[in-house]
């Protein structure tokens, strides 16, 4: 006897903000009437931390013993033990997205050492002979958009062999000069990063120019130029932030995320 359990959120993009209600339906589909011992639905938001081997010792990192921090948790019983008729059954639900006490709902973030994740979990308990069913569904929490508009402050940069940091033999480097600017130092996460880069001159042909988004872990990497780029021509910088893997700069007592 097959039964499928599914959680469907009302919002297609699954993005919610604090104070809103996470609404949706639990969809049960089975061919014959189904006996169960109760269906429950829980919402959970956790921060998983992992210690970086850079900051702590190897052993501590290995045992990554930092306890997950719970941001939100609630549980409701959807149905008492009983019977579900055959066919498709939809049970609507709604959770208000409110924190308890002084906790803050951080934005969803998937990083290497920090993971902030929100999920819905639906469990259906059944008799001993049949396995319990459960279903997970992640949803995404975004912060309330900032009210005050930050005036973008453009920044110019120049890259020459001298400005490079992690090089060993500065003398081996060919001569080059790259100038450019970014339109803003503080970026709105939902908007792309924009700017321009100009290759003024270079002794050797350029193979490619890449723009790297650096956060705790290496993330997006976009190639800007290909092969011998025309000298003196401005090349636009345009990078869409991968939303799942980036979040606004965040600093809390326990952890911080920055770019």
């Amino acid at each position: 006897m097959s039964v499928t359990l599914d959680i469907r959120l009302k919002r297609a993009n699954k993005v919610y903000r604090e104070g809103e209600a996470v609404a949706g339906v639990i969809v049960l589909a089975c061919k014959e009437p189904l006996q169960h011992h109760g269906i429950s639905l829980s919402m959970e938001g956790v921060v998983n931390l992992q210690l970086s081997s850079k900051s702590v010792g190897v052993f501590e990192a290995f045992y990554n013993s930092v306890k997950p921090i719970q941001l939100i948790s609630s549980n409701i019983e959807v149905a008492k033990a009983g019977k579900i008729p055959g066919g498709k059954t939809e049970i609507p639900f709604e959770f208000p997205l409110h924190t308890k006490g002084n906790k803050v709902l951080y934005e969803t973030y998937h990083g290497v050492f920090v993971n902030i994740q929100y999920s819905l979990r639906c469990d259906m308990r059944r008799s001993l002979l049949a396995k319990d069913l459960s279903r997970n569904c992640e949803f995404i929490v975004h912060c309330q958009p900032q009210k005050a508009k930050v005036a973008p402050t453009p920044v110019n940069f120049t890259i020459t062999p001298d400005t490079l940091e992690n090089t060993r033999e500065r003398s081996l480097l060919p001569k080059f000069l790259i100038r450019g600017h970014l339109d803003a130092t503080h970026c709105v996460i939902s908007q792309p990063l924009t700017g321009e880069v100009v290759l003024e001159n270079s002794d050797v042909p350029i193979k490619s120019i890449e723009l790297q988004l650096v956060r705790v872990e290496t993330c997006g990497e976009l190639c800007r130029g290909l092969r011998d780029v025309c000298h003196g021509l401005s090349i636009p910088i345009y990078m869409v932030f991968p939303r799942l893997f980036t979040c606004p700069t965040l600093e809390t007592t326990n952890f911080k995320v920055g770019q």
Partner: protein, 967 residues
């Protein structure tokens, strides 16, 4: 059976004719007409009038029953219905069609939105594929297939399983196992790409969206590879096909997601799109934004540019400039130029109104132009051993396309600005070429002199100048430059063209300029150009490789020169034709000339120049006919030649005309239809002579018409079709008789009779084998009618020809079980009866027929009667035979027709004849096969006849004719 005694009824044709003339009575034109639709207008109109305002005319017209033919088809005929259906196929139906077809169809529709005068990409496609080819080996480098052995990255355990597989798949896009296909020929390459296109569609259909994306990304990566650079434009064409497919698939998918209750209208807005669709669409854009390499990211985003419509109103408007700017990041100028072309192509298709980014693309292109001559390009060319001029031509499809998009319906000032910008770049030939090709011909034509100046200033080493002049010529072929400049333009252009060394380049360019020359100049200039082309193409038989161009030269000349006397007075025209030495091509050229001649030569001609030239051309066509020539081909060639012969007329110079026919016969002996036409022409000539002489020939004209007869007489036997021969013999005999050439007429008719036994029992008519019987019957009837006026030959017996014919008919092996022979006998009876009259029903002026020769001699009459009796005897015998077998129906019909003959031509005062008639009537009604209506009518006719004077005896006969009683 006792011999029947035949007596012909005496006829007074004059009186009969008088009687037959209808009495002059006013015919009342009643309303009734059988072809008029039945109208019940009366009642209806009144009805409508009572109703009030409805106009009576409309109601009466509505009562007219529709034409039965059109009503069957319910208004529209099925063919146009299909056409209409396919044109306006509802999206809902087409959705189920395969995505590829659908995409194409939709694409066509969009190109329409741009306007019919915009030359679509699809037409360029083939041209590019044909032009940019290579014999070198190609390779495809694909990084595909998934390598799943990777260890999960630390920390990702927290990420849900689904996300992780997605991520891995995306990683595979860039780091999957590498597959490299080497040593591909050009065709292999195209096949591979097509395979990829197919697997893209399959992957999509089987819901493997990620794989589909992978394929697309890998394909667009191929575009950054410029090895075997000569092939790059074609590669671009092949790969952008895949991108188009992909773009269409994504668009269709999202479109179908929103078409749940009912399909989206074509002009949907963002508000009509539901959230799921928006989210999916957004996901695609995010996925594509995270492609690491620039080129695939650009191409794939451009491919799904149209999907921006689902997300927001201004999406396309914002994306286009961004993508345009991003192209600056591409280092290789060729790759960049083609990327721009693709962006423009998509842009024009999706948002034709957004012109700015098109212009920006072009300006950016100009900005990077110095790269073309740069160090790295030069190195690359040296490595691949490609010459700079060839390299530059690789750009022209891309640049031309961009310029075409810009120039389409662009205001004049913009074009001028573009031109100025190009000028500033030091008269770059490549740009100049594209400008001339892409801008409106009128624009180019107005500034033709400027352009020539610019072309002259161009660097000789770079782009070949003949290409520049070719492009200019193409514009001038459709638009006229100011009149005062035309000659200078031609001179300047030709000065350069004539210096082109390679015959191929030369003829390509010259061919284009021929049109301009023909348009504006006289035969003198065209002649000069022809001479120049001959001069260039003759050495080393260079013309052999340029037939299509040379043919096009001829075509262009023929479009503008319809006066053939002018055309053939060009000295070099015929020598030019001599360059077509391959038979098939030569015939084709001749054919096209002939077609124009027949279409445009309206007056008869005797111009020796035309005649000579046309004879030459026709002879060429004729000489191409051999045993292997198809029947259709022969027929069409013959038709063309006939068309020419009909246009030849020497006016009153009949002898010249005849000698022309003699010459033509010698020249075109292999095409029978032409010979037939010649015989007709000569016969016509003889009749024309007769008309001019008003029927009485002088000695000279008599000799001439005899010569005409002789011409026909010796030409006819060379025809293979027996019926052509027969009918021509008959016709020529008639013409000879009309011209008082008695012995010639005799000879024709004798010849006709003598070949009768050769008529095969079945002949092929339009490829099908059919019995020749009906044709033969027709002919003999015709022939019999002619024989009435042919006087007997003094040296032969009475009715020599009639007897001859009847003997032949008797001996001819007719089909088994056929009445044909007897039918001939039945139809011979009226002839014989007519021959016995004192005055014949018709005669030939100035020819004495038998009536005059014999003057009603009783011996002659008894000969006739004897002959009739023999014939009737034969017929009756045959009737008897039929009665024995199962042929009662045929017996009845035959008996009835003999009865008719007796009634009309026999003298029924004679008891025996009248008894025979009654018997025949009874016989024909015996088995009830007779049509009662015909019988009734016949009876009525007989009764009517009986009232005529001298015919009262018929009333007795009528008494004895009984109608079959119907049971």
């Amino acid at each position: 059976m006792a011999a029947v005694q035949w007596r012909s009824r005496g006829r007074n044709y004059e009186a009969e004719l008088q009687r037959c003339r209808p009495e002059v009575a006013l015919v009342e034109f009643g309303d009734y007409h059988p072809l008029k639709p039945i109208m019940v207008t009366d009642t209806k109109t009144r009805h409508g009038a009572r109703k009030g305002s409805t106009s009576s005319s409309s109601s009466s017209s509505s009562s007219v029953p529709p034409d039965p033919l059109s009503s069957m088809l319910d208004g529209t005929d099925p063919l146009s219905m299909f056409a209409a259906a396919s044109a306006s196929e509802t999206p809902a139906i087409s959705r189920s069609a395969s995505a590829g077809d659908l995409g194409r169809k939709r694409k066509e529709k969009e190109e329409e939105a741009v306007g019919a005068d915009f030359e679509p990409w699809s037409s360029k496609r083939g041209e590019i594929l044909a032009r940019f080819t290579t014999t070198e080996k190609l390779s495809i480098n694909l990084f595909m297939g998934s390598d799943r052995g990777k260890a999960p990255s630390p920390g990702s355990s927290a990420v849900s399983e689904k996300v992780r597989t997605r991520l891995e798949e995306l990683d595979d896009l860039e780091e999957g196992s590498q597959r490299e296909l080497l040593n591909l020929s050009q065709q292999d390459y195209a096949n591979r790409i097509e395979e990829l296109n197919q697997s893209l569609k399959e992957a999509w259909a089987s819901d493997q969206k990620v794989k589909a994306l992978k394929i697309v990304i890998q394909c667009s990566k191929l575009l950054s590879d410029t090895s075997v650079i000569q092939f790059y434009p074609s590669k671009f064409v092949l790969i952008t096909d895949i991108l188009d497919t992909f773009g269409q698939l994504v668009y269709d998918r999202i479109w179908s997601m929103c078409s749940d209750p009912r399909p989206l209208p074509d002009s949907f807005t963002v508000d009509d799109v539901n959230d799921t669709a928006k989210e999916t669409c957004l996901n695609w854009f995010f996925k594509i934004a995270s492609i690491r390499e620039l080129l695939p990211r650009l191409y794939v985003e451009a491919a799904i540019l149209k999907c921006n419509r689902f997300l927001n109103k201004s999406g396309i408007q914002e994306t286009l400039p961004r993508l345009t700017a991003m192209i600056k990041g591409i280092g290789d100028p060729l790759v960049a130029a083609y990327t721009r072309a693709y962006l423009c192509r998509v842009g024009v298709e999706v948002a034709p109104h957004l012109k700015d980014s098109l212009n920006q693309n072009f300006f950016d292109l100009l900005g990077t132009f110095r790269q073309i001559g740069g160090e790295s390009v030069r190195k690359q060319l040296a490595l691949q051993r490609v010459e700079a001029p060839e390299y530059l031509t690789l750009y022209s499809p891309a640049i031309s396309w961009i310029l075409q998009c810009i120039a389409y319906r662009a205001p004049e000032p913009l074009l001028t600005e573009m031109m100025e910008r190009c000028k500033k770049l030091g008269n770059n030939a490549l740009l100049l070429n594209s400008v001339m090709r892409a801008f409106r011909p009128e624009f180019v034509a107005d500034r033709a002199t400027d352009f020539i100046g610019m072309i002259k200033d161009c660097d000789e080493a770079g782009f070949p100048k003949h290409l520049l002049f070719g492009s200019l010529g193409r514009s001038l072929a459709c638009a006229d430059p100011p009149e005062s400049e035309r000659l200078t333009i031609l001179n300047e252009a030709w000065k350069v063209i004539t210096k082109v060394r390679s015959p191929r380049d030369y003829v390509n360019c010259a061919e284009i300029w021929v049109e301009f020359t023909c348009r504006h100049f006289t035969k003198r200039e065209v002649n000069t150009i022809l001479a120049d082309i001959i001069k260039h193409m003759t050495p080393d038989r260079a013309f052999e490789d340029a037939y299509s161009q040379l043919q096009s030269v001829i075509r262009k000349i023929l479009t503008y020169f319809h006066d053939f006397s002018v055309l053939f007075s060009m000295e070099r025209f015929l020598p030019f034709l001599d360059m077509f030495q391959k038979d098939s091509v030569r015939v084709e050229v001749c054919r096209s000339i002939m077609e124009i001649f027949i279409k445009h030569q309206l007056d008869l001609t005797r111009d020796p120049v035309i005649l000579n030239a046309m004879l030459h051309i026709c002879k060429t066509m004729h000489d191409s006919v051999n045993a292997l020539t198809l029947e259709d081909e022969r027929r069409s060639l013959a038709l063309l030649i006939i068309g020419f012969i009909r246009m030849v007329s020497f006016g009153r110079d009949f002898e010249q005309q005849l000698s022309f026919c003699v010459e033509a016969r010698a020249t075109f002996c292999n095409l029978e239809p032409v010979l037939v036409q010649l015989i007709h022409t000569v016969n016509q000539l003889a009749m024309e002579t007769r008309r001019v002489m008003r029927g009485s020939h002088s000695r000279k004209t008599a000799a001439f018409v005899r010569a005409c007869a002789a011409y026909s007489f010796i030409t006819i036997p060379s025809l293979s079709s027996i019926f052509s021969r027969l009918s021509l013999y008959l016709l020529s005999g008639q013409v000879a008789l009309a011209n008082q050439c008695l012995s010639q007429a005799d000879a024709f008719l004798k010849a006709a009779v003598s070949i009768l036994p050769e008529v095969p029992r079945s002949i092929s008519v339009e490829g099908k084998l059919r019995s020749s019987e009906s044709f033969l019957l027709d002919f003999t009837n015709n022939f019999l009618a002619m024989l009435l006026v042919v006087p007997d030959h003094p040296e032969h017996g009475v009715l020599y020809l009639v007897r001859g014919l009847l003997n032949m008919v008797q001996d001819y092996t007719w089909e088994d079980n056929s009445d044909a022979k007897v039918r001939v006998y039945v139809s011979a009876l009226p002839l014989l009866a007519a021959m016995g009259q004192e005055t014949y029903v018709y005669s030939v002026p100035k020819v004495d027929s038998n009536e005059t020769l014999y003057g009603g001699d009783p011996k002659f009459l008894s000969e006739i009667n004897k002959l009739c009796e023999t014939l009737i005897g034969q017929i009756l015998d045959h009737l008897k035979v039929l009665g024995r077998d199962e042929g009662t129906r045929r017996q009845g019909a035959l008996a009835f027709s003999l009865f008719g003959v007796l009634l009309a031509h026999g003298d029924l005062r004679n008891n025996k004849l009248s008894q025979l008639a009654v018997n025949l009537w009874n016989l024909s009604h015996k088995h009830g096969h007779c049509e009662p209506r015909v019988s009734v009518r016949t009876l009525e006719f007989v009764k009517h006849q009986a009232q005529q004077p001298d015919m009262s005896h018929l009333s007795d006969t009528v008494q004895r004719l009984t109608l079959q009683s119907r049971t």
